[in-house]
C-alpha cells in the first residue's frame, strides 16, 4: 500500500485521524496515573473520545481505499513516516502542566477546525465533524479551565504552567502552516485554510491566558513537517508501544 500516493481525500482523512489517534494514545497513558481520581477519569474520557473519532476517520478512509482495507491496518501497520499528525500531539505527556498546555493549544485549534469541517463539501466528513464538535467543546472547556486554575493558583502552579505553555508554544506554528494535504483539501472544499484559523485561535488563547493572569509565550516557532511524515523522535517510541501487540500477534482477534 503506497500511503503517500493514495487518493487526496484519503490522505486528508488519515491526517485528521492521526491527530486524534496519537493524542488519544498520549492521553490514555495517564490512565491510572492521574493527579486526582476525577482527573484520571477525565483524561481517560478525553482519550476515549479521541480514539473513537480516529476510528470514524479511519473507517471512512478504509471504505474509500477498498480492497479489504480496515481501520486496524491503518492504525497499527503504518510506520512513523506514514503518519500525518501534527508534531504537537506526539509530544510526551511530561507533567500535568505539559499535558494541559498541549491539550489547551490543540483543543482550541480542534474546535475551530471542526467548526469549519461541519461545512465540508465532503458530506461524510462533514457528518463526522458535526458530531465530534459537540464533544470537542467539552474538551476545550476542560483544558481552558485548567489553564485558568493553574495560572491563577499557587506560586508553584503558576511557575510550572508558565514553563509548560512556553515549552509547547513552538509546536503550535505547524497548526497554521498548510501542508500539501491541507492545501489539496482546501482547494477541493473539504477543509479550511488552516492559516486563516490562526487569528481566531490567538483570540481564544489570549482570552483564556488573560483570565489565568498569564501572558502569550514568546518562544520562537519551530519549522515542523509532521503533516508530511517528518516527525520528532517521540512518535517512534509511541508507535513502537502502541503497535506492539498486533504486530506481535497479527492474527489475533478480540
Amino acid at each position: 500500500m503506497k500511503w503517500d500516493t493514495c487518493d487526496a481525500s484519503v490522505q486528508y482523512l488519515l491526517h485528521l485521524g492521526d491527530d486524534a489517534l496519537v493524542l488519544g494514545h498520549r492521553l490514555s497513558e495517564w490512565c491510572g496515573h492521574g493527579p486526582i481520581l476525577e482527573e484520571d477519569i477525565a483524561l481517560s474520557n478525553l482519550a476515549l473520545d479521541l480514539v473513537g473519532l480516529a476510528r470514524q476517520y479511519y473507517r471512512l478512509a478504509a471504505k474509500r481505499i477498498g480492497d479489504g482495507m480496515t481501520e486496524d491496518r491503518i492504525a497499527y501497520w503504518r510506520s512513523d513516516r506514514e503518519f500525518l499528525n501534527h508534531v504537537l500531539v506526539e509530544q510526551p505527556n511530561g507533567d500535568f502542566g505539559d499535558t494541559m498546555g498541549r491539550q489547551f493549544y490543540f483543543d482550541a485549534f480542534h474546535y475551530l477546525q471542526l467548526e469549519a469541517l461541519q461545512h465540508s463539501s465532503d458530506a461524510e466528513l462533514a457528518a463526522i465533524a458535526r458530531k465530534a464538535l459537540k464533544e470537542t467543546t467539552y474538551h476545550a472547556e476542560h483544558s481552558s479551565e485548567w489553564i485558568v486554575r493553574l495560572g491563577d493558583g499557587t506560586d508553584e502552579s503558576r511557575r510550572r504552567i508558565t514553563a509548560s505553555l512556553a515549552r509547547m508554544w513552538p509546536f503550535t506554528s505547524e497548526l497554521f502552516t498548510p501542508s500539501e494535504v491541507d492545501r489539496a483539501a482546501h482547494a477541493a472544499g473539504w477543509g479550511p485554510d488552516v492559516a486563516a484559523l490562526h487569528g481566531p485561535w490567538l483570540d481564544l488563547v489570549r482570552d483564556v491566558l488573560q483570565q489565568a493572569g498569564l501572558s502569550l509565550p514568546e518562544t520562537p516557532a519551530k519549522l515542523l513537517r509532521g503533516k508530511s511524515g517528518i516527525h520528532s523522535e517521540s512518535l517512534g517510541f509511541l508507535l513502537a508501544e502502541m503497535q506492539s501487540l498486533p504486530r506481535a500477534y497479527p492474527d489475533a482477534t478480540w
Partner: protein, 138 residues
C-alpha cells in the same frame, strides 16, 4: 428506542433494514447495541435478513431521548439532561444545577464534567450528600 438511537426501521425485499445513530463518538456500547439489535431481529426474521446501517448525520442529540427514556434514566439514578441541548450556550453552561434523582433537591453541584462513561458527568447533592451521575447534554 427510548434513547433515540434507533432512527428508522423498514422491511424491503424480505430484509429488515435498521438505521442506528451512535450517541458519543467513542461510546464502547455502540457495537454492543448494534449486536443486540441484530440478534433480537435475527431471532424474528432469521439470519441474513437484517441490515444495520450507522447514521452519523444528523448527529445524535440528547433531545432525542423520549419522555419515557428520561423517566427510566431518573429511576435508575441518572439525572436527565436539560432540553434544547443543541444550543451551544447550554453546552458551556454545564453548571446549571440539576435535580437530585434521589431526594429531588435542586441544591446540587457538578463535581466533574467527566463521569464513569463518556456520556455522563459527576454531580453531588448538597442536601442528601449523595453523588449522582447526569447524562451530558450533546
Amino acid at each position: 428506542m427510548d434513547l433515540g438511537i434507533v432512527r428508522g426501521v423498514r422491511v424491503e425485499d424480505e430484509v429488515c433494514h435498521v438505521d442506528l445513530s451512535p450517541t458519543y463518538t467513542g461510546c464502547p456500547a455502540t457495537e454492543r447495541i448494534e449486536r443486540d439489535v441484530r440478534e433480537a431481529l435475527e431471532a424474528l426474521v432469521g439470519e441474513g435478513h437484517v441490515r444495520i446501517r450507522t447514521v452519523l448525520d444528523p448527529p445524535w442529540t440528547t433531545d432525542w431521548i423520549s419522555e419515557e427514556g428520561l423517566r427510566k434514566l431518573e429511576a435508575y439514578g441518572i439525572a436527565p439532561p436539560p432540553r434544547r441541548s443543541t444550543d451551544k450556550r447550554s453546552l458551556l453552561k454545564l453548571h446549571q444545577p440539576l435535580v437530585c434523582p434521589k431526594c429531588r433537591s435542586a441544591h446540587t453541584e457538578r463535581v466533574s464534567a467527566f463521569g464513569s462513561t463518556a456520556c455522563k458527568a459527576l454531580h453531588r447533592c448538597l442536601d442528601c450528600l449523595e453523588p449522582f451521575e447526569a447524562f451530558k447534554c450533546i
